[in-house]
Amino acid sequence: MRGKGYLFKWYVALFLVFLYAPAILLPVFAFNDSSIVSFPLKGFTTKWFEVLQSTEALHVAVRNSLMIAVTTAVVSTIFGVLAARASTRFAFPARRSIMGFIMLPMVLPEIIIGVSLLVVIIQLGFDLSLFTIILGHILICTPFCIAILSSAFMNLDRSLEEASIDLGQTRWNTFWLVIFPLVMPGIVASLLIAFTISLDEFIIAFFLAGTEPTLPVYIWGQLRFPQKLPSLMALGTLLLVLSISLLVLADYFRRRGLKKTGIENSGGFL
């Protein structure tokens, strides 16, 4: 191995330490028997997890977040499928501009989106509620879903659709028998990305929240109180474990799906 490779490895190692530093601290302090989140460590305990179990407000926030995330994931994916199919398969007028416009939320700061939605909703006289948060989340998640699904649709051999038609099948059935199974990995990825983005999204939820908080909004509220911090660490650890498990699961299904269809595994959702 030449010299440069060695230097690289050191850099990457240091980088990984930097990257993982905050994440590692979560379980460290979650099990730390101290009501202050700082060093030195005081001993092992699981009581912070028990505190979580008994906090009703947390459960409400979790339920809200889950509800929002699931709805967002499903609707964003549907929008994404429609848009990705349209843009990869058909050429409609002003396609580039329209697609550029739909993908715009991806590069806009969330605060701009939060602010604009807030303005509209108030001007129109509606109330802020979980529904308004869902709308906001769908807006920002759809571009990501389109990105993932476009790649899936583009990998679809066009002649497969034609073969199905040639063999006598209707367009509707062609979609469900041929296209849908083959873009399934993309759909799964899309659902998961949208779900994860929505679950963790704070700014829009903060701006558009009515009286019912989402999980991040709840966390934000709790950060001000030092005595709540250890239990927040426990919560963070749980969320981390949950996210990783979801991703591992998703990747497992993705690989299985690829195996079935024999497409080469290029690694990663993106």
Partner: protein
């Protein structure tokens, strides 16, 4: 085609209309509890002339540029490493590893940086424990440096991905051809790999720069009084200060500035790419 319409209509309603309304709002004025809908440039005058806002905007730009530069600089070697020094089978796992920290709650991650950089935090604890300092360092938290560091940490996986994708697309035989023609490692990198991966770098830059201006949580938690950014002010106007039109004007101004900077950057890059080939 009919397929695109649901998504399009939704985006039109949820993005175009609100943005237009914000634009409209920025031209109205708020008198305590009533909204005066007559056209006025008052808000923009305030936004652009009042030193506090100018200062905040300048600081936000400065921070964003630093964050973007730092993030891309940190990200590129990692992306290069994964693309060139990792066996293809393992690449997916590495990418996975890079993105895991991202799956912790955004808020918690930033809060944890507070823990790391704080008075009684990890950095100070270890430095004191190793005997390198006597007193805990207080300059590493509650200022702009902390904001830059925290934001860079958050965004670096986002920067690694497009650069990695672009590097993967670089035809390896081009690099071999350069070697065959006499270039050493550094020259091969500068003359072949780097220019060909530029689209990925530009994508990474835009992905990091634009949302960073709008970041609100990080300055609030780790920025201290000197680390606040323009988005905190925008939020303030909308919530506590009850001056939504001013907030709108600030938001639009910020967006305009960001777009201009981005366009200048992209344009400069085009010129650079067309230059010495």
């Amino acid at each position: 085609m009919a397929l695109i319409s649901p998504t399009l209509v939704f985006t039109l309603l949820m993005l175009a209309v609100p943005l237009i309304m914000v634009l409209a709002l920025s031209f109205w004025t708020q008198n305590y509890l009533t909204l005066d809908r007559s056209f006025s440039l008052e808000n923009y005058k305030t936004a652009w002339s009042e030193p506090m806002y100018q200062y905040l905007m300048a600081r936000s730009l400065k921070i964003s540029i630093f964050v973007t530069a730092l993030t891309v600089l940190l990200a590129y070697p990692v992306a290069y490493f994964i693309s060139f020094h990792v066996t293809p089978k393992r690449k997916a796992i590495w990418i996975f590893l890079i993105t895991i920290p991202f799956w912790t709650s955004y808020l918690m991650r930033i809060f944890l940086w507070k823990v790391i950089l704080g008075y009684n935090g990890v950095v100070n604890g270890s430095l004191m424990g190793l005997g390198l300092i006597e007193q805990p360092l207080s300059f590493i938290l509650y200022n702009q440096n902390a904001v830059v560091l925290t934001l860079a940490h958050s965004w670096v996986p986002f920067a690694i991905l497009p650069i990695f994708v672009a590097l993967e697309r670089v035809d390896r035989s081009l690099i071999e051809a350069a070697e065959d023609l006499g270039d050493n490692r550094l020259r091969r990198f500068l003359r072949v790999t780097l220019p060909l991966s530029m689209p990925g770098v530009i994508a990474a830059t835009i992905i990091v720069f634009i949302p960073t201006i709008g970041d609100y949580v990080t300055p609030r938690l780790v920025g201290g009084p000197n680390g606040l950014m323009i988005s905190n002010m925008i939020e303030l106007q909308f919530k506590k200060a009850n001056n939504a039109p001013l907030g709108a004007a600030l938001a639009i101004s910020a967006m305009v500035i960001v777009t201009c900077v981005t366009l200048v950057f992209v344009w400069m890059n085009r010129k650079f790419m067309r230059g010495p080939k």
